[in-house]
Symmetry: D2
Subunit: 345 residues, 4 copies
């Protein structure tokens, strides 16, 4: 049993990590930290875990964490991980960081969208943990920058097609829809039930921080500078992320061409499911799971491709992919602890 800890365990991504790791047969949860709930039973903060998780939340302490765990998941606000990761790595710990601190290779971009970076020397060392694309690199690292939820939902359907030069990369439009849990557990009018329920709106239009993350990976994949249009929307549901991508086809192609391209790229990858023609993904089908369901359609009248992807923003978009990354790093089957189905409703 590998000893693992969750640093920042009482936010939504952290709590979801605890839930998944508590049911993982190859690891033992040994330490949970929480600034806000230090010295309180984790199951008092999340009574759904009563009878299942018996740990108490602790203040974050480098020595304590290093003593108790060999793999550490960091589910902390941006800015904190870059301050502590160097130390963890020096002590030989394996790190999976769910924040944005090490996702971008380009420090300049990071500093423009976030804040000054104090551990730039590690940017190149961090492996971008998009499991279905970078599995080989993930196997051979001890430091993962876990992808953002929007980028996961955008990159998985797009990468096979841009690699195959099937679409005109200058025409990519991304319209994403996210459940409210993506905004985290901290309080704001934006997440007040009465303000969100029976409501729908776009936010951070063209300015969301995940846009440069997608652009950097896409540009890297095809070795050319790609700019996309990206608009996220807030949807009155707790979990789920739906992304609709529009792009002109680079040539005349039909449904089968596109579907085959994606299927072959993800051959034997258990968490990618491709929908048959005329069936679209639905966030309901991936809720609580690590699946990414992908659908597609072609508008013949203007040679436009429509790609759709559905993930659970807290699982494939955060905690689930983090555990998948751990599985790959540690040489486990990548599905351990993650192969549950979503409830039928």
């Amino acid at each position: 049993m590998v000893k693992v800890g969750v640093v920042g365990s009482t936010g939504y991504a952290g709590a979801e990590l605890v839930r998944i790791l508590a049911g993982h047969k190859n690891v033992e949860l040994t330490v949970l930290t929480s600034r806000q709930y230090a010295n309180i039973q984790f199951s008092n903060v999340f009574p759904s875990m009563a009878g299942i998780v018996h740990l108490e939340c602790e203040e974050m302490s480098m020595d304590n964490l290093c003593e108790k765990a060999d793999v550490l998941f960091l589910a902390l606000p941006h800015k904190i991980p870059m301050q502590i990761v160097p130390n963890f790595l020096k002590r030989g710990k394996k790190i999976i960081d769910l924040s944005a601190d090490f996702r971008l290779k380009n420090a300049f971009t990071y500093e423009r969208y976030y804040q000054p970076h104090c551990a730039k020397e590690l940017l190149d060392k961090a492996v971008y943990g998009l499991c279905e694309v970078y599995k080989d690199k993930i196997k051979n690292t001890d430091f993962i920058a876990n992808p953002g939820c929007y980028p996961t939902s955008v990159l998985l359907p797009l990468i096979p097609l841009i690699k195959a030069k099937m679409i005109d990369v200058k025409t990519i439009v991304v319209d994403s829809k996210s459940g409210v849990s993506g905004a985290g557990r901290s309080l704001s009018l934006t997440t007040h039930f009465c303000e969100v329920n029976e409501s729908l709106k776009a936010y951070k239009v063209t300015k969301h921080r995940h846009k440069p993350e997608m652009e950097e990976i896409l540009s890297c994949v095809v070795e050319t500078d790609i700019k996309i249009t990206f608009v996220p929307h807030l949807i009155p549901m707790t979990r789920g992320m739906y992304t609709t991508i529009y792009a002109r086809l680079a040539q005349k192609l039909d449904f089968n061409d596109i579907q085959n391209c994606i299927s072959e790229y993800y051959y034997n990858r258990p968490f990618i499911r491709i929908c048959p023609e005329n069936i679209q993904p639905d966030t309901r089908n991936v809720k609580g799971t690590n699946f990414c369901d992908i659908g597609l359609a072609i508008d013949d009248t203007n040679n436009c491709l429509v790609l759709m992807s559905a993930i659970d923003n807290l699982v494939k978009g955060a905690a689930g992919q983090a555990v998948q990354n751990m599985n790959i790093m540690l040489g486990f089957d990548e599905t351990v602890g993650l192969m549950n189905a979503s409830a039928p409703i």
Copy 2:
């Protein structure tokens, strides 16, 4: 008091017409029909109307309707209106048809997307009731084809800009999101609470019947053939429609250029509200009202314009716009009965 009737009063659009007309100071509701609930008090079908609406639903009968009302709203399934409208018009009635039967001028397109048309000779007579665009024609007709909900949400923000040649009409992508009431009151698994709640999916991708309606109007406005990409999505909320439109700008333009173009086009039109920079529309703000809120943003990195519109699909997208059409036809102020605010939550 003008005598008005609602034919098909127990579907959602019909019932919403009843609600609005019951509070309209210049008209008297004199007859309601319903096939399913004939001979039942309307307020037994919709107890929310108890104490307010005292009519009984009746079977549809041409003579009865013509005797009791001078203006008739048809809230019927497609295919029925084309069978009865000719007769109503012959008898001198004013007709506002909420179905798609007379929206398209091109009978060939209608028959491709719907079914054979049996009153083609009236297609040219019907005025497309997009109030803010065709007010003059509406004033001078007695037969309105009330626009579809998606087209209303798409055409209102787009028309001023394509008229001003500000956008490249070959690049229009429309991503719409609709509440469940758009699917109507009839039963299907698609509208079962448990199947929709906490769910999000695209449907009829590139194939929705409202696409040719938008394309015909847009093409007519600029006198050139326009094809758009259109994907509707089903959202877990009862009411509300949100449309996000993407298009390349035809030249370098900034926020003010676009905003001024739309503002000037809709000068003094009370139901169009344009959001300030960095504020986006929200369906919550238009719920239960006849407003169309419009927002916009420009992505400088690729000269892409993002337009957003929010309407209530049952009001500005159906019953409200129908009443606005009546107001204009009858020479009333166009806001009579429609100037309520949405609840704050």
Copy 3:
């Protein structure tokens, strides 16, 4: 036109007052205060009011308020009204206070459940504004303590029956269910969308502050000390309050006996609607309205009466009843500005 002001206009009850008063033909809204949003356009805080309300929020100032308005609605947190009401009354203003500060006649009870009271001398002067029960007193006062939402939903169905001695007052059990807006607009984990959505729980079991309010009124009505059991529950919907009341019948009675008793008591009162046998109230039918729908059933096997009531907690449970109180005080028809129907869905 009577000049009215709303003190505390940007909480949910305050904003709902603004919405209703903006559509009231006999009054002019002249002043809105808000501590948090002072000097900001009200319609920037609530964009749903854009084009309808053109006032700016102001800091609360006694002189300013008294100068601009003759009737003042106080939608403030408990404790503030008792500090300012004496002054308003001295200056001859009519006051409708939506807080709990003057609802209880018994200062001792108030101080046990709330805090020390600094204007006890006014407790007897305030009229408890349960419109359908205390209309005569309301007509002749200038100072209303507007009832709490739970008490309104409990007292309206119960009072006719306890007056008629039809139920055993020692056996009253009240199980109430409230939408989330009852918790107000301030931020807490309790109202975070993700914590409330798809969730249901009881809270403040047997200890809610509205319990003594109900008990005082019930006891006063029958001039005997009544204790009830009261459990409120939080429901994942924005608005609506549903109360189910259980009590043993004092004698053998049937549906008609009970229904007649309630109907007669509320004869000609437009906001009380009594459901036919086997039809139950539904919060959906009263949403956004001032109606209180009442249903009832008798369990023959144990002579137990079940009463059900549905109100909109922000309208009949707060802002709507406040306006109804104003109408009665000022000698208007009590329905002015309040006679809209709920939307069919």
Copy 4:
């Protein structure tokens, strides 16, 4: 691996059985039937199961079922199981019936609330599968009548206390609240999203079929005739059942007395969790799980006990308890396949 089949696998309880059994390490799912979806891949009906369940739905055939499985779960509408169970039992199959057909021992009561019964001779043979109460009987039978959802939520908190004679059984009032999935997957206006969302209502007041089921078990437990008052309510959420029970205490008792009584009765039963004082159960904490969370409070002013229970109506209220029954029948640990935590949100 024990071979199991689900008869009626495409209703909500059936599909939930499939989901749970697909992750159960001691059984193999070998056959699924569905009248409506015969010859269709189960994962086409429920795409959430794609990649996990690979069976095709079949028409129900006695021979086929008996050949392929040793344990059969019947998730069928009432009336069908009584026609087929005798045959299954004759062929030596183990049966867990989720319908009401064999829950009541009293055929007269069954026939009054349901329809004529054609297998009365088996009523005494069926064991009522309330696992925490009848474990010993369950171990020694091959025929389980799985309890209804409402009865499960009512009986678990009540039985320890009425056995201990702590409450006055003549005063029991049960107010239950259920998510919409309790109404099943078939179509009706009652489950139309727009009719349920933002709505709350009582239904089948005092007349619900689960009332006699509770009364029979309660009466049997204390060997005296018990009548309760029972009102179920429909809540706008997919899953979850919350029951609030009111009863007078038979003597003066405090929180600890009650809590100890329940704790001792359920000592070492992993699916019963009792909340600490002043903490109430929440359906969110049991969603997707087999837990029953129980809370309690005492109203000193009138010696009234309030019990609250939260279950997932499709798991502990149906499919989960069915699998727990199978585990007990087959001698497995009762938690196999059922020990997952609910998601934190």
